[in-house]
Each structure stands twice: as C-alpha cells, then as structure tokens.
Symmetry: D2
C-alpha cells in the first residue's frame, strides 16, 4: 500500500524527490497535468519533448521548427567521436543502451556544448541591442568579449570540413525566416546569427560558415529554450545517429574494434623504444 | 586535402569505418542517399529515426505509430533508476549530456531490455503459428519455454504499480487496431500480445497487465523493427524524460543529492557496528 | 539530527539501502568493521580492495599476487577501444572522470568479460576433476562444451598480436608457481590454465598463447575471487591506463578527435553516393 | 603484417595516436620504457599508477603516501550518488563495468572535483607565499578570491556529516608530517592545508573540518601530482567502493531498484494533480 502523501504535512521521503513533470496513481499517469492516454496519438514526439521540458504544449508551427532542428543534427559520420564511440562500444559487447550512453557522454563542452554556448552568446547580443547598440555593434562587441576569455572559437561558427557553407545552416535559417514571416517566431535570433556571421566573414576576409550548432541554436533561441536545453536537445538528436551506427556495427560484427586498422597501431615517442625486429 | 577514396582499390583506413548511413563531401551531407536539406522541413523526427535505422522513409501512418510509442515511454518518474540517475548526476556537476548518458546506460537488460525481449517472444509465437499452432497454443507454449529458462517474468507483462491496467497499453493497442483496420499494419502482433495476456490472466486468475514494454513492442514488431532497436528506441524515448528531469533538478539546485534524505542514511548489517552515541 | 536506526524495528527507508561494507557515525567511518584511520597507513591499496570486496584482510603474499594482476592489465595502448574512448573523451571536453567512465563502460562482455568467463571455465574444469576426470580430460571436455555454445573463442586464450606468447602470462604464472610452492595458494588453477593451453596448442598445431585475461583469471581464481569480480578488478586496473592516456591527451590538446586522421574519413557503401568532385 | 613505422617519415595514421606511455611489439610490452615482465612482481600497484601517470617510478615512501590517499577515499556509503548509482545499475542488468562507469561518471565537478580544485587552491597560496606573503595572509587572500568568484564552498573543507572532524583528514596529515620529518616530502602543502583550516575556523567561529578531498589534495600536491590527476586518482579510489557495492547488490538481488522504497514514490507539485483515491 502506498503511503498517502498529505499536502502541507511532513512527507520528507517523498518530498526528497519533488517534480512538476509527472504525477502517477495506479492506472494513471499524467505529464505536466495531461493524462498520458490523451497525449499518445495526439501529441507529436516533438510536442511531447516540448511539454516535458517546458510545461506547455507548443503550437504546430513551433513544434515543426523544433523538429527541423532535431532532424538536422542526428549524425555527422563515424569521424565524430560520439559516433565512433557508439560503434566501438557494440564491438566490446555493449547493448544499444550502453553504446548510446557512451556516445551521449561524449557530447560535453567541446563536442556538444557549442549549441548551449551559442544560445547564450545570442542572448548576450540581444541584451546589448535592448540596451541601445545596433545589432552589428552588439555582435562585434560580444565576439570580442568571447574571444577575450581565451577561446578563438566562436560557438556555432566555423567548420573544418564544410566550406564555404554547412548545408544545414541556410536551410534551417530559411525555415526560421518563413516562420518569422508568418509570425510564429520573432526572427530576431536569425538576425543575430547572421550579424555574427557577417562580422566573422569581414574579419577573416573569407566565409566562416555558420555550423549546425549555430543554426540549431537560432531555432532553440527563437523557440525560447534555455541554453542548457540546446545541449540536451542536441544529445537527443545525436542519439538517433548513435543508435543507427551502433545497430549497423552490430550487424557488421567485429570484436574490440580499435580506432584504426590494427596493422597501423600507434606511434611511441617515449623513452627506450622497442627496436624494430 | 581529402585523400581520394577510390572504389575497388585498397583504402584500408577509410574502409575500416564503412557505413551505408551517411555520405559527405564539403558542403554536402546525405543520409541513406537523401540530401540533408531535403530531409529538414520535410521529414518528421519520427520519419528521420526510421530512415536512419532502416534505410527507407516510412509512410505517414507508420511514422505516426512509431511516434505514439516514442511519446508513451518518455518517463516513469524519479523512482525509475534511469530518472533518478539523471537527477543525481546534475547535482554532482554533470551537464545534461552526462546526466542523459548515465540515465541511458541504466537501460540495460532489466530496466531497458524488456521491449527487445518482447519483440523476440512475439516473433517466436508468430513462427509457431506459421508452423501450424493456434495463436493460443503458440502463446502458451512459448510462455512455457521462456519460463523454463529460469525467469518467471514474461517480458512486457505485469506491473508492480499499475494495476489492474497500465493506461498506456490499451491506448497504444487501440491505435494499432485502428491502423490495422486501415491496412497500414497487419495487426498480427497486437493479436499475439493479447493472446499472451489472456494466457497469463487465466493462469494467474487475476489481471496481469500488459505494460509499456509489451505495448511498444507490439508497435515495433508491427512496424518491422528488429528486437535490439526496440531497446534503442526506448532509450531514445526515455532520454526525453532524463533530459527533462535533469533540467528540472538543475533549476532546483542541490549538491551531491543522495537517494534518500540524508537524515536516514542506510542500515549496516556487517561486523563490529558503531554503537549509537 | 539523524533519525535513530533501531535494530529489529521498522526502519524501512534506511533498510532500503543495507550494506555490510561501510558503517558511519559523525567522525567515524568503518569498513567491514575496521576503523578507517587504522586502515590508512597499514593496509596496502591491494589489501583494501580485497577487504572491500571480500570482507576480510588478506595476508601479504595473497595481496602481492593480487597486486601483480592489477599491475599487469593497466593498458594495452590506444588501439584498445577502452583507451581510445578515454583519449577521445577529453578532446570532447570531458574531465578525467568522464573519460574514465567511457573507458570502463567499454569493458563489457567482449572487451572486459573474458576474465570473468575464464574464472568460470576454470571452476567448471575443477569441478569435473573433483568428479573424477583427469585434468586433461576435464580441460578438453569443458573446451568442447564452451565451443558447443557457439563461440570459437576460449576466454583467456589466443591473441591477435602477441604471438607466440603474451609476455604477461608466463610472468604471472611464474609468480603463482612461486606462491604455490610456498603454500600461499593451491596452484591448481595454474595447472588448469596450462591444461587448457596444452589442449588448444595440440588442436591447433601451433601455440595459442594464454592472454592477460587467462593469466589474471588464474590469479583471481587462486585467490578465491568470484567470476564477476575478475571483471571488476580488470576495470579497476584498466582505469589506470584510461586515466593516464586521458591525461596525456589533455596535455596534447586537440578538439573532437576522431578515430583516424580527418583526411581519411570513412567509406560509404549505401545508395546514391556523392560523386567525387 | 604490421606496417613499419619509420621514425621521421610520414606515418600519418600511426602518428594520429602518439603516446609516450606504452610501446609494443609482438611478445613485448613496455610502459614508459619498462618491460611489463619487470614491472609485474616488482612494482606495487601504487608505483605502477605513478609510473603510468608521471613517467618515473617513485620511491617506496612516496608510493606509500599515494597508497594512503587511495585507501582513504574508496567509499562513503550508499548515500553518495556514485555508490547509489553503482548499486542501482546492477539491479537494471548492468555488469560491474557498467555499474563502475556510472559511478565514476558521477564524480564530476561537484562530487569529484573538489580534490582537483583544492590542489589548485593550494598552489595559488604557495605562489603567493613565494611572492612574499605570510602563509596566513596568503590563505586568507586566496580564500577571499575563491569566494569572490561566487562559491561559498572552499574545496576540500567542510562536511555536512563528519563534525567536528572527518576522521580521515588528521590521519592522512599525520602521515604527511611523518614523511616530511624524514625528508620524503616537503610538508609545505600540509602547512597550507592547516592554514586554510585555521582561517575558516576563525571566520566561522566553529570547526570547519578538512575533508577527504582537502586531505588527499595535500598528499597529491606534496607528491607533485597535477590538479586534474587528483580527480583521476579519486575516481580510481572510489571505483573500489563502486565495485564492492555493486557486487554486494548483485548478491542481494533486486530489479530496477529506485532511490527510496517504492511505497513512498515522490511529491508532485505541478498542475492538475491526480486526486488521492
């Protein structure tokens, strides 16, 4: 028998885990107050993601933009550490859950944090505009501030492979423009993203492409997601790629698959090297 | 400059990582042959998940059923080890990626494997029917086989909390029935699921509810997903709950949050206990 | 104030987490009944590992053998998926804990389970000897049984790189022999390991080297560790390599380091390949 | 056949993974230049840990101090999120590697980073002393600096449970004092640790105990370990506790063990709560 939780009284054990996300009774489950059986079949997966993280249900146009960002970031191939980790994992005996966990764990500050940082950068630029700067001044000023903290990488911009353009960025921005023209989002973060790109292009004297993190961060900011959720949503999206590659690797077989063909091994630059035989 | 990969010749390093999921060139990304910019805005997230794991794009009715399964399993509250792990993780300093990784890693054979096992059980029953048994005989026989291997738990059936019925199961099965009546799926795995439930109810003399794993496994089997992908898809779905709870916990704050209020600690039953002071 | 745990009464919350490993009161910590301040400075790390997992303190000769096994397995280079994962992880922004977690997670059935399986194989051979077989018959018979379950790989034997001999195995077995000659261990599992090796060599007509898992499993079995702890101890040992490589990579720098030099990418064998430009 | 690595020539694939930790040829393994068969049986586990992370072999007194720190931090009971995660994990079906991975992943900035931060704090104080401050001034000044960055928690000091003293700290510091009196370490970081404690006690007007992180950080700093390795070594130490608790839980059994007894569930404070039945 379940111990009754009495509102307003001391329920210290139950209160240790307090949430406004899910409520349950035998035979009943509600998310943010909505019975699960009403959500199933009526809410899209994107709407459910929004409801769970935000507390309200988005309209269809907003959910569609979220879906576009989620579709765009699923995978960047086996060269991405996240995907490589997932593929290696199944050859080590892990099930898909373990492979996906290793992949998602990789999405830390460098591999998965750029979206979060970009959202925060965009907001800082927006705040400077609100305070009276032009958007160009604000972009230039906040880029300077960012780089003064020691990193030359502006989160969300530049790509070592996709030059002059990351094909995902203009497509995503185009969809934001459409949504803005119909009044579903403000469009101000798309402007901010483009202002950053212009400053970077001008300074470099060559195109510095907005990358997937920069473009999805525009969407997440337009939709009102907080920075940390930009990272979380990227993890969710990339989990699709990790699952797919892990499953493909499972079908390919292999045992303890290392990063390069075994014939190459690695280079040793320490003391007392073994003489070639 | 990229080393040219020449089809048919020795490209041992590139061939070490071979995939049919993603192809890339500077400025171009294709998934299963589809350019990313055509997928963004046209494929739903569920369709993208299908494309990535299966290689083809599903029709809208199939994608909708997949979406229903993904919506249904996002969360089961902070008592679920996956969710508790995610919430603890952020109080230990992890970002959302680390919290989600710890949660998904928890979804191993016991916490996350029931869907995979249920898909396999359903297929074994279907094979027995193809071989001439009635569906009732096949269900009874395969339940016996399963339990003979030592586990009394039939994957996908029974729930310690939701009695007499898990509210997600009848809703999901109803949607399968609808789709079957319109010819989008065969409906045979829904029949198999119900046949198992009938055998279990009869044997126990009381309702043994089909749970979320049993119900989503019906959908995954109807849609043609292999068993291991049932686990992977559950991981993807539950990642939404993990992200949401981790984010809520991040906003609540807390440091090194243990499982129970600290005042309770644990019970020690080893040698030389410390005398109560 | 801590809620008093009253032995024999209902302390359901405290009892949910019951352990015989650790007891605490403010200012006091005991492991298996030993005050921590007595263990620090008196128990070696190997003795502490034994105490924690087994409940008693080993003698110095037993602790020394355990230490030899732990020293032997720390690392097998960046080609090992565990080590590669640790190095990739720090380039993705993870701290050493995350890098070590990704490495240890990799040590599943294939990459980290051979020691556990070898301990179990050795015990099955020992049981057959107790039942009257000669050790050669028992080894041959249990190898047959193992392979009949579908795997050609005998856990703990064979190495794709170290031929004809893994340098760690004879050294470890020599130390077991020494300890056996002095009566510190029985030596029977070293005999069993050698019996397996003889059967495999004879069948193959060429040396099938006992590998690190086979050799450390001899030690773990001699010392009375259960199979699953052979895996756990390997994880502990390999954590040293993971930490060391992650730390070296941290000092080398690098961002989002993929498995192979980026110039190589991967091979795509799916539909609609992008034409080389 | 292994591709010959020719020093000074282009070996781009092998060079992608360059290390000074391990060198191998068939039948040969060397760590930092030492053949593995010479290390096994001669180097203690603590010496091996030092060799792997630092490149040289420590003397016995230094290795003993390292060992004391490793022994001291293995476990702090099932209330620690790391240990709770390990125990939950095995009830979800994970093997010891997965349980240990989840535990170690938890040891991020808040749960596992205090040792790293304390080493860095100690070094900043030492630098101020070198620049001419008294140790008391330096401690007070660097504490102020630390707290000015927004955290009231001084890493390595204070304990919510062990009051007035964490029993591990005075024992570890006593061993540092002994080693310093014999000239094996300088003893200056023990002084710095005590200076911090004095400042904190004076400011609070009550004892602020040096905790396990503060005390092991003294040892790691005395021995010359860099800050990040203090975290790594804590992960290694705590892995012992995670393994031991996971193994105990495996023997206790249980399925999908949540944080509190299931009868308590959690408290819901969101919209539209389910009415108590």
């Amino acid at each position: 028998m379940s111990k009754a939780v009495v509102p307003g009284q001391n329920n210290d054990v139950s209160d240790w885990w307090t949430t406004s996300i899910i409520d349950m009774a035998p035979g009943q489950i509600r998310f943010r107050g909505h019975p699960i059986e009403e959500l199933i079949g009526n809410a899209s997966f994107a709407q459910m993601i929004w409801l769970m993280t935000r507390g309200d249900l988005p309209g269809a146009p907003q959910a569609k933009l979220l879906e576009c960002a989620l579709v765009a970031a699923v995978d960047h191939g086996p060269q991405a550490p996240s995907i490589a980790a997932a593929r290696m994992a199944v050859t080590c005996g892990l099930s898909l859950n373990g492979a996906m966990a290793n992949a998602v764990n990789m999405l830390d500050d460098v591999h998965g944090g750029a979206g979060e940082q970009a959202v925060e950068l965009y907001h800082s630029i927006r705040a400077a505009v609100v305070d009276g700067m032009t958007i160009e001044e604000a972009a230039a000023s906040k880029i300077d501030e960012w780089q003064a903290t020691g990193s030359k990488f502006i989160p969300g911009f530049g790509h070592r492979f996709h030059k002059p353009e990351d094909p995902r960025a203009p497509r995503l921005l185009g969809l934001v423009d459409e949504a803005a023209s119909e009044g579903f989002v403000s469009g101000e973060f798309a402007q901010i993203g483009r202002a950053i790109q212009k400053v970077l292009n001008d300074r470099k004297g060559k195109p510095v492409p907005m990358n997937i993190d920069g473009a999805t961060a525009v969407i997440y900011a337009e939709l009102g997601f907080a920075g940390p959720l930009a990272r979380g949503l990227f993890c969710l999206s990339r989990s699709v790629g990790a699952m797919s590659h892990a499953w493909e690797q499972m079908q390919q077989g292999g045992r303890n698959k290392g990063p390069t063909p075994p014939v190459y091994r690695w280079s040793y630059d320490g003391p007392n090297p073994i003489e070639p035989g």
